[in-house]
Amino acid sequence: MHNTAVAHAHHAEHPSGIWRWITTTNHKDIGTLYLCFSLLMFFVGGAFAMLIRAELFKPGMQLMDPLFFNEMATLHGLVMIFGAIMPAFVGLANWMIPMMVGAPDMALPRMNNWSFWILPFAFILLLSTLFMPGGAPASGWTMYAPLMLQTGTAFPFTIFAIHLMGISSVMGAINIIATILNLRAPGMTLMKMPLFVWCWLITAYLLIAVMPVLAGAVTMELMDKYFGTSFFNAAGGGDPLLFQHVFWFFGHPEVYIMVLPAFGIISEIIPTFSRKPLFGYTSMVYAVASIAFLSFIVWAHHMFTVGMPLAADLFFMFTTMLIAVPTGVKVFNWVATMWRGALSFETPMLFAIAFVFLFTIGGFSGVMLALVPADWQYHDTYFVVAHFHYVLVTGSAFAIMGAVYYWLPKWTGHMYNETLAKWHFWLSVISINVLYFPMHFLGLAGMNRRLPDYPVQFTDLNQIVSIGGFVFGVSQLLFVACIILCVRGGKKAEAKVWEGALGLEWTLPSPPPYHSFTEPPAANLIWAHPYQND
């Protein structure tokens, strides 16, 4: 009798302190771990970017060897993509998807723990290469053969780190798919799911489809280096371009892996602060699905200068341009959602509006880059650097920041400091345009990307860019301050934090109980998109 009671009590408890986090199978704890990890990596990758911008403040080499510069550029890319953006989205999925679909937890909680805890080891492996003889990988995050094969001791460590990141991502994706398909509350049909859930469902399929392709590509490099194969060695009958084709077959869907969840977030935030339902829910779902499909047939637009046959150039140009159609539909739908709403401008909404503006600018340069003859001038210049930072930083990263401010009161039970958060937003949005907009001009004037040093006529614009970079970097400390202050205390948050919010997560108290929905929510609460019940 006594024993049963103890056992029961033990079952209901969870360990405290560090063991809570190491052994946790709870979706909220794991979501928190993912988000904290990605914030840490955002600062590590950001520190690399600060070093890059410091060296580029003046022509000539002042701070580092050109090879170390290449190492910084490589690690900045790998850390930001695999360490900051992707884990942040997985963290948001962990926190929000069970609450949005009315489930108690993720479908596969133990695997959830594992897929997170692989990541710190993967990044310890990757970052330890900085201290190895020959330094970290220096061939760019794209790891093109044959240059990648010149990497020293760091080579196998980098590749195994990539393998671990891939395993983690695929497990996370399986978990998300299993949760969405199996644990939805009764009555929540697929076409009643919140858009964030839809976007993540499609993203998860993309992850499962392409992460093994990346693993294959880097494994082939490993074989070339250590087992005498010649996949990418022309002298042995191989083909250096094969690597690029395989890599970008992963790489282009990867771009959408980093932006579709952002589309989902924006589609949640804009209706809330417009106090008006999302315009064109159905077309939004179809647009995301179309983008995902097209992402598999556009990969070679990253390689227009490699000398493909005319027919291939034309094919990839046309398919790439086609992506503008569903992407345009999404932007038009967001604008139509705001149109004649009753807008208010809390920090999440500010980030969402900035997202729509600045992501669209990245989309415009994307259309320009799609035109092969023009791409031959833009390719591998700062014009491209500007393009992908507009879609990845003012796109994905801004969406993540917006999401954090949007759901932070729900997670912590406290309101964040709105004044401080607005300072964070305005400093970020101004400095980031000082940082990235002049890059368009640098690229058009002929400055290549990945340059440790540059001709003197590019000096003044590079100084402006660097100053924008430093200010943006420092501004992110405000983000951390906002989060820490909000976790520690603040005005009590209500269950429905925002006046115009719709969706199951707002029916739970703030902060929500440890197990989100122990009983399925009542059917009349499924109001994510109430007009679906018309």
Partner: protein, 439 residues
């Protein structure tokens, strides 16, 4: 006609408005240059066309957003509408972008077809990328040479060099041996690489083509007007990626012909296309064997065997006088050459600075971050001579096989230099014959 005038007017408006910003504030034009080939004009027009289309779409989309932000505010007491669906409007804003895209795709495809048409060239030049320099091979004229970063840029670009890059003319945009082309001729470029992937980009020509080991890519140019055009390697190719610029000198057909004739009889010296005088810098011009040399005037055998008489540069500086000009590059002839310690050391230093210093550093201390060992007090230059020669000839890891790149005389000179510089005192004097035997 109307379209042409419109285009012209448009171009004027853009140019003047951009000049207004760029002229006053920045050292560069803020827009893509119009360039000097027919293709670069087409690409510029396409670029401006798609730019203005984007501006137009931006005005509409951002304009609607701004109207919402300004008028449809809760703070202004606006009551939200509740509409959320309209199939007709969804269809319209799917079809309109589609039509705009077709309007973009048609001119883009036309230009692309034109750009890839490399048929019927007047001449061909092969371009090969190396870590970190370019080689230009004039296939029909039977000579080739390397083009490396100019010495003044190289010195200023060293870490903490103390040299202000502003004081260097054309910092990182100048080379020792420029590529020389005639104007008004269709020139086919055959582009490949020796080690890793590079990319040959001259923005004024609108040519950017990857140089890939094992592939020969093609492009073509037809330069409108004489001048000096500058470009760079556009694909990350390792430590020296920023330090392998491209310079192309375009000359009239007559001047070009004179330059070619001088090059063919320069006995390894590079001929400055402006002065038509030989220059003693960088690596020597290499001549193709006669059977591969299609159009070159047949060199007189007597001239080629006159090994002992070096052709002195017209006004040799003291160091250059010590470095003899190599005789015409028939391998047998070169092998018959002998170095003295002084000539070998002088030539060896030139070869080292042009080829080896990129990794082993100008001070011979190597680059530990890159895993490149030091020459100064290094085990190889102070070890057995045979092992040293073998390593230089055949390479190892990231060390290239220089036997394929340099000739016997230069290899002998640079090995001699390495064994007797940077504090090394091996005392060896390597002769070209020893290299020939070791091959």
């Amino acid at each position: 006609m109307l379209q042409k005038n419109f285009k012209k007017a448009l171009r004027g408006v853009i140019a003047s408005s951009l000049a207004l910003i760029s002229g006053s504030a920045f050292a560069i034009d803020l827009n893509m240059p119009v360039g000097v080939t027919p293709m670069s004009h087409d690409v510029y027009d396409l670029h401006m066309y798609v730019f203005w289309v984007c501006v137009g779409i931006g005005i509409v989309v951002f304009g609607l957003m701004l109207i919402s932000i300004i008028w449809h505010r809760k703070a202004a007491g606006y009551q939200p509408a509740q509409f959320h669906e309209n199939t007709a409007i969804e269809v319209i804003w799917t079809i309109i972008p589609f039509i705009i895209l077709i309007a973009l795709a048609i001119p883009a495809s036309k230009v692309l077809v034109d750009m890839t048409n490399t048929s019927d060239p007047d001449m061909s030049i092969k371009i090969e990328g190396y870590q970190w320099k370019w080689q230009y091979d004039y296939l029909q004229n039977g000579f080739s040479y390397f083009s490396t970063l100019a010495a003044d840029s190289n010195a200023a670009s060293q870490l903490d060099s103390g040299i202000n890059p502003d004081s260097v003319p054309h910092y990182l945009r100048d080379v020792d041996h420029p590529m020389v082309v005639p104007t008004g001729k269709k020139i086919r470029l055959l582009i490949t690489a020796n080690d890793v992937i590079h990319s040959w980009w001259v923005e004024d020509f609108a040519v950017k083509v990857d140089a890939i080991p094992g592939f020969v890519n093609q492009a073509w140019i037809k330069v409108d007007k004489p001048g000096t055009y500058r470009g760079s390697c556009s694909q990350l190719c390792g430590r020296g990626h920023a330090f392998m610029p491209i310079v192309v000198v375009a000359e009239s057909w007559d001047d070009y012909q004179k330059w070619v004739a001088s090059m063919q009889t320069s006995h390894g010296a590079f001929i400055n296309p402006a002065t038509l005088q030989p220059e003693q810098n960088g690596s020597p011009v290499v001549y193709a064997p006669a059977e591969l040399n299609f159009n070159a005037p047949t060199p007189a055998p007597a001239q080629a065997t006159a090994t002992a008489t070096p052709v002195a540069a017209p006004s040799p500086t003291p160091t250059m006088a010590a470095a003899e000009v190599k005789p015409a590059g028939k391998p047998a002839v070169v092998a018959g050459k002998t170095w003295t310690m002084a000539t070998a050391m002088a030539r060896g230093q030139q070869v080292f600075d042009a080829n080896c210093a990129a990794c082993h550093m100008a001070d011979g201390k190597g680059n530990p971050a890159m895993g490149v060992p030091a020459i100064a007090a290094g085990p190889i230059p102070n070890g057995p001579l045979a092992a040293h020669i073998t390593l230089v000839l055949h390479g190892k890891g990231i060390m290239p096989a220089w036997g394929n790149i340099l000739d016997d005389a230069d290899l002998a000179a640079v090995i001699t230099y390495e064994r007797n510089s940077f504090g090394n005192h091996q005392g060896d004097l390597v002769q070209p014959a020893q290299i020939k035997t070791a091959r």
